[in-house]
Symmetry: C2
């Protein structure tokens, strides 16, 4: 069994959600069959979107610091439950020998494996994820097209994410509920919960009609569990 390291705290609720999903996706009948994890919940990492909009401090040195802390703790693989932070993925990979499991590559693999033709993919994510082309580049490389929402929808998604980060769950859910109705009416073939705060909001939403939603956090959890269990006992 391998030990996974989590660069977390972006936000803490999203890290909690990944932790929960790793536990849920582990076929354990007693404590000792669960995966060893080191979670570096480091909420002081500066806001990723603010930086990509040229409005904030560079989070990269903090991400690197967290990665190095996890390396010292002896982790066998790395991941980070923050989609926007994946803008820095390749730069982080260049600084480590440890395998880094990407949330974007995890959900991309799950979408391809689902073996359906998705012509209109919607991405519920931060402005930073759009600006940084965190999803657009790898998806286009696989011939998959993300169709952006209009500005009004995107603004409300951002609003719901930052309201949740401020600890105002009920208000965040209300904002998200309103915008989700609009998203569903726009005939997307599937949606990606491509910000780790989105699955938390989705729990409270009543989906009006069948729409395929890929939860990037869930995909990441499954890929981490699979990597940690399939390896020889460490």
């Amino acid at each position: 069994m391998k030990r996974a390291g989590i660069i977390g705290g972006m936000g803490p609720e999203a890290t909690l959600d990944l932790f929960k999903k790793i536990i849920k996706n582990t076929p354990a009948k007693k404590d000792q069959e669960h995966i060893p994890l080191v979670i570096d919940n480091y909420p002081q990492i500066p806001d990723r979107t603010a930086f990509l909009l040229n409005r904030g401090e560079d989070p990269f040195p903090y991400l690197l610091e967290s990665m190095k802390r996890l390396e010292r703790a002896g982790v066998d693989c790395l991941c980070m439950p923050c989609n926007t932070a994946h803008y820095f993925l390749e730069a982080l990979r260049e600084q480590t020998q440890v395998i880094f499991i990407s949330i974007v590559e995890s959900v991309l693999e799950d979408i391809i494996k689902s073996d359906k033709e998705y012509r209109k993919i919607g991405l519920m994510a931060t402005d930073g994820t759009f600006i940084g082309k965190v999803y657009h580049i790898p998806f286009e490389q696989k011939g998959l097209k993300i169709v952006d929402f209009n500005n009004d929808i995107q603004r409300k998604i951002m609003d719901s994410i930052y309201t949740l980060k401020a600890g105002e769950l009920t208000k965040a859910v209300n904002i998200f509920n309103d915008v989700f109705v609009k998203i569903v009416s726009e005939d997307y073939d599937c949606l990606i919960a491509g910000c780790t705060e989105i699955p938390i909001l989705l729990q409270y939403v009543k989906v009006d009609r069948k729409i395929n939603i890929f939860d990037a956090t869930e995909s990441l959890a499954k890929h981490v569990v699979s990597y940690c269990l399939n390896q020889s006992v460490g």
Copy 2:
């Protein structure tokens, strides 16, 4: 702000519960105001109760390994969301310079602060916590009396804890619900959720009448938050 280290994985669900309660008890309006944590989720730590019943491997070397991993990660204080593991608290404290916040001392302080006279205190905990006198000794030093349950109740509490650890939530809740009715009928002045799996089960229980319950995990979370926030910025 100080960084807290959590010796976790005993079980993972209990560690998740502490993490959730630390977030909930932090007055943060954005990610960056949350507390930095390093969580060492190490479920391979051998069963504490089994050891105290002379039936299993000694968990101490594993607890020490986890504590040293957290020290290397640079934490400013330590805690562990497992009451039974507090049998080893003083032995761990002897091996570190880092302040170790005790779950037992946290809830004991909260009970004393509540300024009510509790003559009959019930402790919902593992057999290991009873055998190791993890609560009995510090409580008696403060003049507080824990009145043990009868064998039938204690056996069912253990059963619910280990059924939850096996991932069978519904079954665990049913067992716990049955025994909780019996506990409530026995006129305790207050109850301590003194095993970190108990608050998870308590969420699903409809309490029939008013009974004061002290959640040791919640007490620990509050003490950790208070320690990390009250200190000068680190």
